[in-house]
């Protein structure tokens, strides 16, 4: 942006349009604060970005160059195409749009066959029909973010679909098996024995009515959740794994309380909007929700600048506080406080360790058959679901679980007839995600359209030594839902504006109801 804004003094400057930063921009503007929201990229989302095919191809390119760079949040990116081998056509370069000519030239040097090249060009053309999330997550139906979206009206800017099914990787069968979580599921699931059906229903009912004073909880303070399930409900084996890893999503060391609170939340969330306990945002997750909050920010007077590289911070050396920022063009903006994603922090403030943060192994697998389709009878081809490979599965993840989300055109992640499977894990074992993908595909690569494997860095803001009035926001983490992010945003909001209300309902809404 070349024009100079009239306004150069703000209450808050927010750097980066990741989810946490955007929630803050929106909620602060909402309570009357003057906000400048700025991102050096030309797209929204920051580390929460959603890619069309073109963006994916470009990302791959830039990431390759940054592979050794300390500043990169993504590494080891591998994008592979699987063209339909039967199509033996000539190379037709007339299809290429002008803007893509450079990109195509770079890529053609790496692609071997004519089929791959043609496919690349076709995918570029269909770029917009893909919305691939670099950090996919689901929204729990009773998460605090849902309440915020509803009460503030921001939910109207967004679309969601219900995630009705859950799968868990079964070691014996070497495939994904459905986890029955509702009464209907329990009833119709033929893989669960009669006795297990009863045990599970009894337990789910107990979890639904979770009451700390329940007689079953007496004397269980020292127990782990797993022990509790075993002793009080005689739930063992596969059923136990399903409850711990796919429903409660805790680990084997979790206490009874932790496990039950989580399970209770899940069971309470079921059926709130759809059959399941989760919602999947359409067009990509964190980025879409972030944009909804940016919209709120703009509606309440927030100023937006995208594609604006920054030069430096203006620091008051006496008070060790930030006075503002300076753009590469020399434009100065002043603020009282500054909220920022970690990428905008001065290198000197960050940890000097080469390995700052932890790495999450991720993958996006685009196929032409759904990968979560083991239950041939009840399977709904376009359904949304998530799956868990518990620790100890055949994928080699002895330490941590692998999560996967299965999307399709239902969530606008890809065109009709294709399916997107996201996988990720924090497991430190080798090639875990690749193994999981192989297990899902059952060594049948024919179903692949294209695949992307990569690693994403998760940095936390704890322990950073920053100037007093800079508040940093964490990277998207390895959890399945947005709870961590929304809690962090809420916490920061309260820290900044202790007296203000977080995302109050708008007056306009009140009138309309009347």
């Amino acid at each position: 942006m070349e024009d100079n804004l009239e306004e150069t003094n703000f209450d808050y400057i927010v750097l980066g349009t990741g989810l946490i930063e955007s929630i803050l921009a929106g909620s602060l503007a909402r309570v009357g604060k003057k906000v400048l929201h700025l991102d050096s990229h030309q797209n929204y989302g920051g580390n929460w970005s959603v890619f069309g095919f073109r963006e994916l191809a470009q990302w791959y390119e830039t990431s390759i160059n940054y592979e050794e760079s300390y500043g990169s949040n993504f590494r080891k990116v591998e994008l592979k195409l699987y063209p339909n081998q039967q199509k033996e056509m000539d190379l037709d370069c007339s299809k290429i749009a002008d803007m893509d000519k450079d990109l195509v030239n770079i890529w053609f040097k790496q692609l071997d066959s004519v089929q791959e090249k043609n496919m690349f060009m076709d995918l570029l053309k269909a770029s917009r029909s893909y919305n691939l999330d670099s950090t996919p997550k689901l929204l729990g139906s009773r998460d605090s973010l849902v309440e915020t979206l509803i009460s503030s009206g921001v939910g109207r800017y967004l679309e969601f679909k219900s995630v009705d099914d859950i799968y868990i990787f079964d070691k014996e069968l070497k495939s994904l098996e459905k986890v029955p979580s509702s009464k209907e599921d329990v009833f119709t699931n033929k893989a669960v024995s009669l006795i297990e059906k009863r045990k599970l229903m009894k337990f789910l009912t107990f979890a639904m009515e979770y009451d700390i004073n329940h007689v079953l909880l007496e004397g269980t303070q020292a127990m782990s959740y797993i022990q509790f399930l075993q002793e009080k409900f005689k739930i063992t084996g596969k059923l136990q794994e399903a409850i711990v890893y796919a429903i409660a999503m805790v680990d084997d060391k979790a206490s009874v309380k932790t496990g039950l609170v989580s399970t209770h939340k899940f069971v309470q969330a079921m059926g709130r909007f759809g059959k399941g306990a989760y919602l999947c945002p359409l067009y990509g997750g964190g980025s879409e929700i972030a944009q909804a909050f940016c919209r709120v920010c703009a509606v309440y007077g927030g100023i937006y600048i995208l594609n604006q590289p920054l030069e430096k911070y203006m620091i008051d050396s006496e008070t060790n506080e930030i006075r503002g920022i300076v753009t590469k063009e020399g434009q100065e903006y002043k603020c009282q406080k500054l909220i920022t994603g970690i990428d905008y922090l001065n290198a000197s403030w960050l940890s000097q360790e080469k390995e700052f943060g932890t790495w999450v192994s991720r993958a996006m697998i685009v196929t032409n058959t759904p990968l979560a389709s083991t239950d041939k009878e009840n399977f709904v081809a376009d359904g949304l679901s998530y799956a868990v490979f518990p620790p100890g599965s055949d994928a080699g993840n002895s330490d941590e679980p692998i999560y996967s989300i299965h999307q399709s055109q239902e969530s606008m992640a890809c065109p009709k007839g294709q399916y997107v499977t996201y996988l990720w894990t924090t497991s430190k074992q080798d090639a875990v995600v690749k193994n999981a993908v192989d297990l899902l595909l059952q060594n049948n690569e024919q179903h692949n359209v294209f695949t992307v494997f990569y690693e994403q860095r998760v940095r936390s803001t704890k322990g950073l030594e920053l100037p007093k009035n800079i508040i940093p926001c964490s990277d998207p983490d390895q959890s399945l839902n947005f709870q961590g992010a929304s809690e962090e945003a809420f916490g920061i909001f309260k820290q900044c504006e202790p007296q203000a209300e977080f995302m109050p309902a708008s007056e306009q809404d009140q009138d309309e109801d009347y």
């Binding site: 009833f187 009669l194 229903m201």
Partner: protein, 462 residues
Amino acid sequence: MSDVHGRKREKTTEEIVKARKLREAGKIKEYNQLVQDCRTKMKDKQYDADAFNLTTKILQSNPDYYTIWNYRRILILDQVSKDAEKEQKLYQNELVFFLQLIKINPKSYWLWNHRIWCLQTMPLPDWKAELGLVDKMLTMDALHGWDYRRFVVSHLVKKVQDETKIADIVKQEYEFTTRKINQSFSNYSAWHQRSKLLPDIVVFMSTEEKNKVAVNELDLVKAAIYTDPEDQSAWLYYWWLLGRAPEEVELLGAYQLKDTPLVILGFNDMIKFMQVPQLFDANNQPLLGKLYPLCEDSGNASIWLFLLDNNIAAKNIIFDAASTILPSSSSKKVPCKQWDMNITEMDKGEGVFKRVESLKNNLKNVWVPPSTKMYKDPALNDQTSWYTLDRIQLVKDEIETVRELLELEPDSAWALQTLAHFLNQLLLRTGQVDLYNEIIVTLDKLIEIDSDRKHRYQDQSK
């Protein structure tokens, strides 16, 4: 929107209420005018488009006004008589009209009535499409939905002459109930419908296939009771699947009023005699007499009177059960045994004999040997006759199933009741009297946990 004292808002509420009342009054006036106009037109036999439109407007406000529906039908028939080509279209418009109104009043009887009339009157009704509609309707109004569904299916079946096509329709219905049950198995109507369909579904199948279906049904219902032991519909279906062993007729007692020639025979159910039983005196001499059933007509009675020709004390009555009596219903069977029962002397009370004497005068029919042996084979009417799995093994297996459930849910009233019932069924089929113990224990437990119904269980105990 409200000022400092909030007065502005209150005023607005008042104003709004007033405005609403005015509007309503206006609407009522308008409506009454429409009805008036319509009546007039019909009286004057002005069967024109205006009259038709009037019925439309009135019915949109009040779809339960059946007189107006009658008018509308008269108008439609009149239209058809004038312009036969438009007939199908006219009725199709009616069906569309129905869809508009049914959204607002899903339970309006007269709306459905009109639809049925259209379907029965129109030249080419599409019964298949109706099934699709019923599906949607079931979600709105379950009770009437199933009835209507049966109505539609019966029409579909009538249309189709071919046996295999009928089988297809029945199968489709069966699958429909499966879907509904899978969605929500505490759905009595779905299970009930299923029980009606099953015999028709299997009628063309081989024995093996039939038994497979039976096993599948059992698996389904067991999944339901284990998932939710409180669900009544599933338990009832479970009982239906296992059926009932026919109970035996028993001669409860034989009595003679002292110093009279009257012997009274009591059975636990109504029966018919095929031949006269034999009575003997203290010297084993046969006694002759006349047999009278104590009943209205038809010859079935649970109390029979044997009036001896001579006033002699009878000692015992002997007869072969199987060849002498017939049960009155297919749920009872006659044991294969020789009955030899002592006749107990009853103190003749003045009143008793006089009453019996007076009854004798009312007895129309002395028993005569029946001309035909109408023996109702219990097996024929047995609701479980559509499968041939070994009944005894089946009930044994299911007793195990229920016992296992009771281990997990010891206080489940339905499970306890079912166990008692199944044990009784086993007893009836095998005669294993030691089963009584477990039955009594089960019923005792039931009494303990379900004190409301304890009398029923106590009776069963006996």
